[in-house]
Subunit: 347 residues, 4 copies
């Protein structure tokens, strides 16, 4: 029988941590050996989460510093930024998959600019693999520390990275409109996230200054081989899960939308989780709810020389915990789809 | 390698049929060999359903009469009532799991009363096994025809059947309040189910005359060994999935709520899908979303001599397609949980 | 020109207080002269509330103890219980309309039982008028202190009070199922009220011990002239506003549903806000959203001798702030509908 | 006493028609004398609409051709395009406020391109006043035929028209992302608008080819005095009401965001319904729900030379029926705010 991967989830009282546990529960090779949540240490997952009411066998929550990492093969960090790097920076035994923002930006100064503080473990930045799985496969098997992309960057990069890599679109005037479900804001107590504040309404937030902007630009620039600038406006939508990005791009002179389509079709031809939709079909979050899938499509704009590239993911799965599992699979030499086979939930 | 169960789903363009396909897709022993939908014959499932956009390999939809039943081991009927019995009544080869109402009521006259027409295949009624899996296990392995319970009956029977079976509650004054998500109304075009008619609102329907009433009474009477009458009022709640029943019952003189708790604990002690919650924890649909689980609890009422028994399920899974798969597993000698292991989706 | 009623709203940072301000803004005789909110003192209403962004002329929020009551004609108390009686008990000048629970129960011991503390101003209980406007009209013009009913009591009493008053239903076995939108839980920071916890889900709460139970029983007993006991189970529904109660009642022997209909028709024949719907039409919260209207209907149950009485209101309007305005109108000799004429908002 | 304006609403069984009736019911000068709805002729509004259950005095619905226009002062056309112009083109008596698309585009050929058919009444196009009230005031008092703007154009034009009029932004690279509630899709029976298809999800539609595009470009070009091209992508959001547009614009060289702010502040300084929010406050649909208000703000983008202009309205009110009433007020010499004073509904 195949050996088990013993996992610890730090920050299991947040939505990201809970979704990791949800997926790990049916992963045929994962065994959850430790769960931490400082504010809820001592409680069971069944007490903290409604959907684990029937899963009494999960380890009890402990404070992060009380986790025994000795028997752990891989640690999933679902902690707030800064706290994450502080704790993970001191770990020497297990491999690390971090879902916080701490190891995504390669430049500690940029991190300080956007996250407001000195990076707690800058010496680890060079080592961290940026874990957009489809583009990180070569590095993952040997990686000790993987930084999972943010949810918005995941959707945007899947849509645009191949196009910039092939230079079929320009990098100067990319306009991204983004829509996210409320789980993306976390489980912290904020008046702004109460049901009556959010339901039956929509609004933009972090206009012109969302922290995922430098991350997107960093990765697009790497693909393009030159600097890239984006306009990026996220909006909060009254739904639990789901993320959709609508990117208005400028075609490289001489390139047509059909060629963009060709580039994306090539890039994702054999991907299990990334799907270029048939011509004319609009990506929708309902296509991927609860699953690790991403759907993408490209459309001609009425304005000559422009195209519209759209991608949809589940922010908690491909945008976070599902991709983390996918990365774990790649790191441990397993099929990437292991434990992630469930079809989307609709309606 | 274990042999495959070849399945056909009739009525795959409805929510119930689609959820069956969703579950069957990752069932390790099921192979979907035929899908029917008369109104959408000729289309692919990816054209008909957003969440199958990335599953191009499913069989194309055909008209029900064009299904080749020769190579089919089990047929899942997700057709409207009457149409279901008409078609299934003529099948001789495969085993049948019917999700319509046609084979649930044992008495053809009662069927005619409530469903408004002569039963199309009354000769099959004696043979049909009422497939509330937890109480039908003895009969399922040999069954040729299984009638899956309605969604409301599933929730109510799980809550009350053991209590009536042990005569710890009375059968004369049961009052059931029921809440359902909108998917329970089906995918047919009705103004009443348009988003703006339903969202941000709640209302009762079929007051005093819902078709699940005789079904509930039939099965409760069988458990009680005497006639049972219920008041039953369903309400439409602005959510996609989920069903919750709140049952006000009268204790048999001398019995206390603690004893009801004991009866339920015994009944479901080793059930994989039915869970008596810890004392004081309120069942909630978010505990079971997307899963085959049911959660139940019992509470003392302030009125002496009364108790409140509450159950929650996902109407499309344990209330319909999941239970159908669970029944298939039991019929074919497989572990009941096969293909149904996914944890609930929250948030 | 008619004189102005100068009003103060204490607790204007809660949903109830805000809805009072919303209604008062277009009331032709009301002038808002003071607004309090201890936790947000110093802020403007436009800073605290999105929908007052375009109403800059409202008074700035102050602490409750800093309100100058000298020039105030009527104080609306939207404070938490206990705090409300404490502050209002010391007021001598203005008339008082309290929307908290503090002056609803006539018996200080019952209050202590259910609200967990000695009543802060028991000497005022005899004076307080229970302000279910339709049944309090005689007392309102002279009242100094009015206790607005709770939201659930408002809906239940409108449905059942005339029936018990005419003794056409029994008072021993009333079963009430209640559904409420999330605004009923207030704007306080509770994890349970975050959007992802509530959306796409439903669950009961305060099972067998909701604080509105003794209030309902007190008022029904007054109408019946004898003790009344109720089973009452509230549920939280994913919508902002709206409340619906489904009451299963037992007919007095010899009385038929048609007669109950007659009693309700008589009771509400000329009421501007309470409407008996045509036979067979189910009350729905979407019928009354944002308005001070209530809709009621009565149905025969399948169980002989039982009837189902259903009522729907907007919990923040007829269930709270609208009824408070209606009471103010009655207290000051104005038409009850003044400032409350807006039709419901649908969709 | 002031005289009454007798109004007829054609198409009163749609959401737009119903919202017109809702507003007209409390308009102090309007009297509803006729309501038409071909598919529901013979029914009462209380039968067709839940929120008019308590308004039995409304005229019964008749077929449009059966309306007696003799005693009608103003007709509100809420019919589908083409049908609208066909009927309204033949009216000679009453003044006309059309809410369809038929009289918005000045060029019949453009109409034919986008709406797929010869214009039914091209001779009326020159006469029609484009009724974005804030910019049409000079023409409205004498107008016989007013074309109410589409909902998206209303929001976009309020945001951008002053900026293009003052040439502080360019007209070549305007990118508009738009979000709308489901009521914008109408009450017709479409599978795509069923609750379970829309709830808990988001998706774009009409990508690159929405019919409001030429209307927006026409009006922006008029303001700019030169051609304007826009990229425009609408998305469907799971909410009943509300519309939000996020416009990425390029600053005219030498102009700063502060100056854009100044232009908007000047343009709307004394407007009762259009509000420039304080610096940094994000427009949100919850600020305007159920009301005729619009909120706007402008933000610097991180990309130098770009700005983000955002506007929110209620699509059924300022985006449709409310603006129609506002236009009626202007046409008949009444204060524009008459009947539209209600504050937004939140939550």
């Amino acid at each position: 029988m195949a050996s088990t991967i013993r996992i610890a989830v730090l920050g299991a009282s947040g939505y990201t941590g809970a979704d990791l546990v949800r997926l790990a529960l049916t992963h045929p090779r994962a065994e959850i050996v430790a769960l931490s949540a400082n504010s809820k240490a001592g409680q069971t997952m069944a007490e903290v989460w409604p959907h684990f009411a029937m899963v009494p066998q999960l380890p009890r929550l402990v404070a992060s510093e009380d986790v025994d990492f000795a028997g752990v093969d891989v640690v999933f960090g679902c902690l707030p930024h800064a706290a994450s790097a502080q704790l993970l920076g001191s770990l020497t035994g297990p491999r690390i998959i971090d879902l916080s923002a701490d190891f995504r930006l390669k430049d500690a100064a940029t991190y300080a600019d956007w996250y407001g503080g000195t990076h707690p473990a800058p010496m680890l930045l060079p080592e961290a693999v940026y874990g957009l799985t489809e583009f990180a496969r070569d590095a993952l098997p040997a990686a000790r520390l993987v930084a999972c992309p943010g949810c918005y960057p995941t959707a945007v990069l899947l849509a645009l990275q191949p196009l910039l890599g092939e230079a079929v679109i320009g990098g100067d005037r990319i306009t991204i409109n983004a829509l996210s479900g409320v789980s993306g804001s976390g489980r912290g107590l904020k008046e702004a996230n109460l049901f009556p504040e959010v339901a039956e309404a929509v609004h933009p937030y972090a206009i012109g200054r969302h922290r995922h902007m430098p991350e997107i630009e960093q990765q697009l620039a790497l693909a393009a081989g030159r600097a890239v600038t984006i306009s990026f406006t996220p909006h909060l939508v009254p739904m639990n899960r789901g993320e959709l990005v609508t990117c208005i791009v400028e075609l490289t002179p001489g390139k047509a939308v059909a060629y963009l389509r060709h580039v994306l079709a090539e890039a994702y031809a054999i991907e299990p989780f990334v799907h270029l939709l048939p011509e004319g079909v609009a990506p929708a979050t309902r296509m991927v709810r609860g699953s690790n899938h991403a759907v993408i499509n490209v459309f001609a704009d009425r304005v000559p020389g422009r195209a519209i590239v759209i991608a949809a993911i589940d922010n908690l799965v491909k945008g976070s915990s599902g991709q983390a599992i996918q990365n774990m699979n790649a790191m441990f030499g397993l099929p990437e789809t292991l434990g992630l086979e469930a079809a989307p939930l609709f309606p």
